[in-house]
C-alpha cells in the first residue's frame, strides 16, 4: 500500500499566511466581485487585533456595506457608535438615520468619542425614506459613514447601497433587529451584537458586547492560522468585546477583546468533517 506522505504534499509548518492572502487577492480580482479595499479607499482597524485578524482585509473595509443585526437595540447602537466614532476621526462627519423618536443622547455619545459636531441625525418615517437618505449620503461623498435603522430590506436595495458605497468611498451600515429573516445579501460583513454580562467585581460597567461575525465576503471568517494549525472553516466567530474609553485621548478609544468564544455547531456530522479536515491539515 502506497501512502503518500503528507510531508511531500504540504509544506512544513502549514500554508504561509502571506501566500494565502495574495492568492485570495488574485482570486477576487479575477472574479472582480469585490475590489481590494487597499486599492480604493482603505481599511479601518477596529483597535482589537483579534477581530482585525479574523477579517480578511485586516479591518473593516471603508467603501462597503455592513450589516449589524441587533440582539438588543441599545447594545447594537453602542457598538455602531463606536464604529462611527472611529470612522469619523476628528475631521469627518457621519450621518445616523433613524425612524421615529431617536432618543440618542449627546453625553452618552461623547463616551464613545463621537463629538456632537461630527454627527448629523436624520429622522425618517418609513424604510423607503431611510434608504433614500442613505443613498443620498453615500453619493454625496461628503461623509465618512452613514448608518440607517431599517427592517429587513430586499436584495436589490442592498445591492444599490453597496454600489453607492463603493462608488462614493463611504461606509454604509444597516442596523436592524436580529429577529427578522436573515437572507444572504451583498453586505461585506455581517455582525450580530448582543448584551454581555460584566465580570464579578467590575462595578464600572464599561460598555460590553457579545460580538459575532456571521459572515464576510471574499473571505472565510475565522480562518485563523495559528501555530498549532487549527482551522475552523466557515463558522462564525464570536468575541466578548469591551470599549476602551477614549474621552481624554480620542486616539486611544477603541474596541478591546476580553475573551473569545469557540462556536460549537450543533450538527455532529459537520463536527466530524471539521475535525477530519483539521486533522489532515495539521499533519
Amino acid at each position: 500500500m502506497v501512502s503518500i506522505s503528507s510531508k511531500s504534499c504540504w509544506p512544513d509548518r502549514g500554508p504561509d499566511r502571506a501566500v494565502l492572502k495574495s492568492l485570495r487577492a488574485r482570486i477576487s480580482r479575477i472574479e472582480s466581485r469585490f475590489a481590494e479595499p487597499s486599492e480604493s479607499s482603505g481599511v479601518m482597524t477596529l483597535g482589537a487585533p483579534e477581530i482585525d485578524e479574523a477579517l480578511p482585509w485586516g479591518g473593516l473595509p471603508r467603501a462597503a456595506l455592513h450589516e449589524v443585526l441587533a440582539g438588543h437595540q441599545s447594545a447594537a447602537s453602542g457598538f455602531c457608535a463606536g464604529l462611527l466614532a472611529r470612522l469619523a476621526g476628528t475631521r469627518e462627519t457621519v450621518l445616523w438615520c433613524g425612524r421615529g423618536r431617536g432618543g440618542l443622547y449627546g453625553p452618552g455619545l461623547a463616551a464613545f468619542g463621537l463629538a456632537p459636531e461630527r454627527l448629523i441625525l436624520v429622522r425618517a418615517r418609513t424604510d423607503t425614506e431611510v434608504l433614500w437618505v442613505l443613498e443620498e449620503g453615500l453619493r454625496s461623498c461628503a461623509l465618512a459613514a452613514v448608518l440607517g435603522e431599517t427592517n429587513a430590506i430586499g436584495l436589490t436595495a442592498a445591492r444599490r447601497l453597496q454600489l453607492a458605497a463603493e462608488s462614493g468611498g463611504t461606509s454604509a451600515f444597516l442596523l436592524r433587529s436580529a429577529r427578522g429573516k436573515v437572507e444572504p445579501g451583498p453586505a461585506a460583513t455581517r455582525w450580530h451584537i448582543a448584551t454581555a454580562l460584566g465580570t464579578d467585581g467590575d462595578n464600572e460597567m464599561k460598555p460590553r458586547w457579545q460580538v459575532e461575525l456571521l459572515k464576510c465576503r471574499s473571505g472565510v471568517p475565522g480562518v485563523a492560522l495559528t501555530q498549532k494549525g487549527e482551522t475552523t472553516f466557515g463558522l462564525p466567530r464570536s468575541w466578548l468585546v469591551e470599549w476602551r474609553d477614549g474621552t481624554r485621548t480620542p486616539a486611544a478609544g477603541g474596541f478591546a477583546v476580553a475573551a473569545e468564544f469557540r462556536h460549537r455547531p450543533a450538527d455532529p456530522v459537520v463536527d466530524e468533517i471539521t475535525n477530519r479536515i483539521a486533522a489532515k491539515s495539521a499533519i
Binding site: 447602537s77 453602542g78 443622547y105 449627546g106 456632537p116 441625525l121 436624520v122 454625496s140 462595578n203
Partner: protein, 494 residues
Amino acid sequence: MAAHGGVRIVAVSPAARAGGVFAGQPLADARAVLTGLCTLDADPQADARAIEGLAAWCGRYTPWTVVDKVSCVPGDAGVWLDITGCAHLFGGEEALLGDLLSRMERVGYAARAALADTPGAAWAVARFGQTDERSIAVVPGNAHRRTLAPLPMAGLRLDAATVEGLARVGLRRIGDILDLPRAPLAARFGDALIRRLDQALGIRGETLSPRVPVPLLSARLPFAEPISRAEDIAAAIRHLVDDLCVRLEASRQGARRLNLVLYRTDGTRTGVGVGTSLAARDADHLERLFREKIERLDPGFGIELMTLCVPAADDLGPVQVGLDALNVQEGISHKAHEDLARLVDRVGNRLGPANVSRLVAQASHIPEKACREIPALAPAPDIHDGPHRSVQPRPLHLLACPSPIEVMAPVPDHPPVMFRWGRTQHRIVRADGPERIGPEWWLEDQPHDAASHERKSRDYFRVEDTDGRRFWVYREGLYKPGLPPRWYLHGEFA
C-alpha cells in the same frame, strides 16, 4: 340668503333685472314676478376664496395684487393690481389689460378694468366710468380731474351716509366739489371726504399692501402651448433656475428660499417651494432640490406660465471654483463643507428641515436638559466646559419622559435588587451609584425651601440585569420612612 323677512335675493343677473327682479327682494316675490327664475344659495366664504384665488392668479402679471372687496353683487367685487414696471413685458398697458380681461372672460368672469395713476381714480373709473368696447379704460396721466368730474360721488369710496348728505345739498358728481373751498367741506362732512378726494387726484399718497410680500427676484417663462409632461416641467425649471442664478451672481447674493408657481390653463395655480440651509446659487444644486418635488405637482389641463421667485436671499461673495482651500478652523475643505450643506438641503427638503439636526450640549446638569437638537448646519453655540459637564457616565439612549417602574430596594439608600418595567421583570446583578442630581434652585420659578429641594432631588443608579442590559434608574426624593419611594427609568446604556 336668509335675512330679515325671509330669504332675500342678494345678487341679480342682468337678464333677471330686465325681468323685474331686484336685489333685496324677497324670494317669494321674485319668483312671482319672474317665473322660471333660477336661484343659488349665497356662499360668502366661497366668494371670498374665489376672489382670493383671482387675486393670486393675477400674480402672473405683477406680484403686487390686493383684494379690494369680496361681494357677490355684480359690479361690486374687485381686485387691485399695481403694474408699475410690468407693462412692458406684455406689450403695453392696454395690451396687458386686454390680455387680463380676455383670460378672465375665458374662465367665466365678466369684468371691467381701468388703469390710472392713483388707486382711487382707477377704482372710480372701473366702477362708474366709461369704458371702451373691451371694457377697458385707461386714464391719461394729466387728465385725472377731467375724467373724474362726471363720475358720481360714490366713486370716491365714501360711506352711504356721507354720499346721502352730499346729495341732500345738491353735490352729486365729483366735479361739483373739485372747486369748492375745502375747510367748510371738511367741517360739514368730515376729513374722510377730503382725504379720498386728494387720494383720487394724486395730491395725497395712498399705499396698498400686497397680498404676499413681493419677492426680490423673479423669473417667468410663458409657453406658446400648454405643457404637462414631467420632463418638460423639469426642463422649464432648469431654464428658470439658470436665469435666476445669473442674476443672483450679478447682485452677489445667494438664494435661501425659492418659490415656483405654475399657472394652469383653467385659471388655477399651484406651486411648490424649497429652502436651503446656506445661501446657494449653484444651478445644479437648486434644480436637484426641485426634482424631488416635481412628482407632487399636478399640471391639470396644461401649464401655460411658470414663475420662479426668490423671496429670501443672503449675501454670498464670489466663490473660487477649482481650488480646495483648507478652512483652517473647521479642518475640512471648503468643498466638503459645501457638499455637506447640499446633502443637508436635499434631505431637509424631502423630510422636513426639523428632522435633520445635530446635538449640542447645554449648560445644565439636569440630564434631560443637558442636550438639545439644533438644525444641522447652524453654528453651534459656545458652551464652555463648566461644572455642569459631568464626568459620570451617561446612557446612550435617554427616554423622552422618565418611565415609572416598580422597584424592590433595601432602604434607605441602596440600589434596587429587582425592578419591573412594563411587563418584564429585571433582576439586578450589579449596581453603581448613587449619583445625586438636585433641582436647579437658581431658577426663578422653582420654590426655594429645603423640603421641596429634597423632594425633587434625584438619586441615580446604574444597574445591570441578568441579561447584561444596563439601565439608568433614579429615585425621586430623599428617603422618608412611611412614604413609598418613587422610582423611574431614565435611560439605557450601550
